[in-house]
Symmetry: C2
Subunit: 197 residues, 2 copies
DNA sequence: CGATAATTTCTGTAAAGACTGAAAGGTTCG
DNA sequence: CGAACCTTTCAGTCTTTACAGAAATTATCG
């Protein structure tokens, strides 16, 4: 398959974006290609289009399936596996967020809790400097944990919104103000942080 | 400076998280260290604590300053530059989001617009296959653009909230339902996507 | 205005990650 | 059941990125 210039530009850019967010470039490119493809593609076709090795595509597809955003589609009369991705951007986004939360947020929360537990069983057994955090550090980590917990709670609520209504929700930004200031009280802090030095 | 085990665990973990999100591990570690440090640190102290080269710290600090989350603090009687980060997690978060939006979202939106412009001036001058996107691809890119624009608009509103009130906002998740369903009409789509194959 | 301290820049090296091509493992079809 | 086809795994290569140490630059002090 030969991509026209605009499509190619998009695929390349998406690969670039992926790598900036810790996603393998090829993985992102494969996903971009599937996203703009009118029909499911088989691995061979993806490989020739993106000009990468067949095996590389195989690995990337596997990765995308682990992320839950690509699935196999079989075509009658064709033995090969074909692949497609979700067409709904909001669903895609939600699935990616779910996965990143599970892989990165949850372990971080767990670690913060662990760091903040008052006393570990073996803290006295080993000599040297004190095992406990100083008050300042403890305070910082507590705040960080609270941050993640707020985010988690918020995200859990957002996840309850049907994907079909998500875009409406995010377009509703202008209602935020009323929601936040019931008595329309003026803001206590400066809304935007100052210019950088 | 010698970190106690819990603090060290946090710093290491934060470095790991950073690299998963496309942030240099050392950069993230330096930031973690400054975040939990009760006082501004100079580069030498950071280097010995993290056991990395002085020059590496220099680069990392420069990077963190470019992100707008670390600033220089001078200590009376000490010629060396000292560094500190913001203590408010919400402000930190906002600054990072601002920067990532500027670096990654905005260019993506620009590219999508470019891909979707009806006709580029030189589209007829070069031979070969058609320069225009097929309808399906065009539709997908339009939806993607709409997604980014919704997100942008929403984020612009959130940014107007004073950082001091942000945590309250994100803790307000449970009010989402009422906001979304004024007449408490049932959702049109399934709220959560099914189990993966 | 040297001398000393502090910081940054630069270059080579080391480590990590991505990718390829070949081989192995499964499937489907005649 | 064997051949053709498709997919995955694996080992080695290549590319990219991160890093250390030296050299150069800048700032501060006597």
């Amino acid at each position: 398959m030969l991509l026209n210039p605009a499509a190619e530009k998009f695929v390349v850019h998406w690969g670039e974006m992926g790598s900036r967010w810790g996603i393998n470039r090829t993985v992102a490119q494969v996903h971009a290609l599937l996203y703009i493809s009118p029909k499911p593609l088989h691995a061979e076709e993806i490989a020739t289009t993106l000009k990468v090795a067949r095996s590389n595509v195989s690995t990337s597809l596997r990765e995308l399936q682990a992320w839950g955003i690509v699935k196999v589609a079989h075509v009658l009369g064709d033995r090969r596996d074909h692949f497609e991705t979700y067409t709904d951007v909001w669903e895609l986004f939600q699935r990616i967020m779910d996965e990143r939360k599970k892989r990165e947020m949850d372990p971080t929360v767990a670690l913060l809790r662990e760091c903040l537990t008052p006393e570990s069983p073996n803290s006295r057994t080993r000599g040297g400097q004190p095992d406990t955090l100083d008050d300042f550090t403890r305070h910082r980590l507590t705040e960080l944990l609270a941050f993640f917990e707020s985010m988690n709670a918020w995200y859990d609520q957002v996840r309850l919104i049907p994907t079909g209504a998500l875009s409406a929700f995010f377009r509703m930004g202008h209602k935020l103000r009323k929601l936040l200031t019931p008595g329309s009280k003026p803001a206590g802090k400066t809304p935007t942080h100052g210019a950088r030095p």
